[in-house]
């Protein structure tokens, strides 16, 4: 089993629903976003950089097979789960932020202060809590907690807390265009494997040699 995701850029409408679903479901503190959707080439989202060229790019952890973040982690807090997802053990991370430098995709986020204080600083409504309410352990290790310990690194888990219950990640369920697919890359007949083969799937920064398990399907030219 090797978990993989395919994102069809032809179907992505740039609505950022996946961004919001991800942020809410995973109780991300203010200014922390595991998943980002932008308009490549443009400084303003949803504004085409040129007439007729408009597509959107969602980027979160690429769950690389050759993950630099895992290799640099001095304490093995970042690890590959059996299904191929790259996870962080919230109880082991020492917060050295080496992984944040090593990741070429900029997906790793640090808890610069206590999340409760961050809520107050950003003027969130008092006692307002959102997201999956319980701690979650995957293979015995704490990979999700609604209130993060101060001073640790976090990132996309492919929604470990939902996958372990047989449900899909929040971004997949929250996508109105059904642009996201998850499945087993080892199975040549899975949806993801077939899409990758038939639609010229590509990965981000292939020259870095990280071997992402998140694949993108290129958009067709837009009608003007």
């Amino acid at each position: 089993m090797k978990m993989g995701m395919v994102i069809d850029l032809e179907k992505c409408i740039g609505c950022r629903s996946c961004m919001v679903a991800c942020k809410q479901h995973n109780a991300q503190p203010p200014q922390t976003w595991w998943n980002r959707v932008f308009t490549p080439g443009s400084h303003r989202h949803l504004t085409p950089p040129a007439l007729g060229v408009e597509f959107f790019l969602p980027v979160h952890c690429q769950h690389c097979e050759n993950a630099p973040c895992e290799k640099v982690c001095p304490v093995g807090a970042t690890y590959h789960a059996e299904d191929g997802a790259v996870l962080i053990d919230y109880e082991r991370c020492i917060g050295c932020r080496y992984c944040m430098s090593a990741c070429p995709y900029g997906v790793r986020q640090f808890n610069w202060e206590d999340p409760e204080k961050a809520h107050a600083r950003s003027e969130y409504q008092e006692k307002y809590h959102y997201g999956y309410p319980e701690d979650h352990r995957h293979e015995g290790r704490l990979v999700y907690s609604p209130l993060r310990p101060k001073g640790i690194v976090e990132k996309c888990t492919f929604c470990a807390q939902y996958r372990d219950k047989g449900e899909l990640p929040a971004c997949v369920r929250g996508c109105p265009g059904k642009a996201r697919f998850v499945g087993d890359l080892d199975d040549p007949d899975s949806d993801v494997s077939r899409l990758i083969k038939s639609r010229n799937a590509f990965t981000l920064l292939p020259e870095k040699g990280t071997k992402p398990t998140v694949f993108y399907l290129p958009p067709k030219a837009k009608e003007v």
Binding site: P68, Y98, Y105, G106, F110, G209
Partner: protein, 409 residues
Amino acid sequence: MSLKMRLGLVFSGALFLVAVAAWIYQLKEGLILTNMQNSYSWGLYISGLAFFVGNAAGGLVLTSSIYLFGVKKLKPLAKLGALTAFANVTAAMLIVLPDIGKPIRLYNMLLHPNWMSPLVWDVIVLNLYAAAAAIYLYILMLPELTGRLGWLAIRVDDPHAFSERWAKRIAPVALLFAIGIHVVTAWIFSTQGARDWWFSPVMAPDFVSVAIAVGTTVVLLAAALAYGTGEKYQEAYRALGLIIFMATCVHLFLMANDLVIHSWYGNAETHRIMDIAWGDFGPAHLFEVAAPLLGAWLLMRPQILGSLPRLLASSALLIAGVFVHRFLIMPAAYNNIPMTMTPFGLPESHWSLPIASGRFLPGMGTFLDQYAYFPSLVEVAILIGIMAYAVFLVLLAIARLPILARENQ
């Protein structure tokens, strides 16, 4: 103890205590007290690590000069070299602590070390070098551990012969660890394929050369303060000056070599790097080149080595230049977002994906691809305090232990 020594100890000790207080405050509030954020995740503390590791090279230079190359005139400075090495390598380890988000969990490095991580290698080699420097210093002091300090001495038949024999035996081992700390610290950066600015095989040899330059300058500075600039030590100082100048030239050559290759190929990433290194930080780059070169050139001249104020000013110039060099490790790495692409249909465009800052930054958006980092007061206070710790340790050792040659006490 002289009044000057007392004042030095009180002043450096006080600055160190300020740093401890600042660190306790930062432990309570989190790294929000620094000016780092997600897209610029290492700052002054990690620059400080590289700086102190470089300063620790003094021991390496002196032991190798004396025992491998037979430069006997440097022998009176051997203990000072080992002492400044120990002070700086422990300072290097100390400055990492405030950069760690959860220092209480550092025991995980012992329980679950990831042998692939250059940071684990660095912790090992820094500790080995600190131990080697301490043991080496002890062996050198052994013949003079008598009277009041007699209880510190291990019992051997002939302390002088024992010291001489074991110093020779330990020197090559210490030398291995000494080169190790520069190489492995450089590897922490240069193994990161994500950062074009760091991903260069020249970084490790450059760290060694800059360390030989600045580490020797630290010993020269300490020796001039301890012994003065009398005729007796001029020969040794001139030897150090020559080492400093040669190492500085090698360092500037390696750095220029890297910059030429980065800029020559001229793809979008390297354009961006050069815009930062030569553009935004142009004046700082000029300083990191000119200050060590001028300082090293001055430190070769007899009229400079013969005057304490001039020697101190020239050394300070070189050390300041190297400090700026260490600060400049970060900007061209972090202000050049690795996740860039040429969007479909826009071959002229080179677009970077902004990164969520992870913290509230007044007047700034959440998603950043540019960030003008300048260290916060807490970061500066902690760095100065760790520098003061190194000074305090050297002063205290000189006051209490037989570090200096007898006739000068």
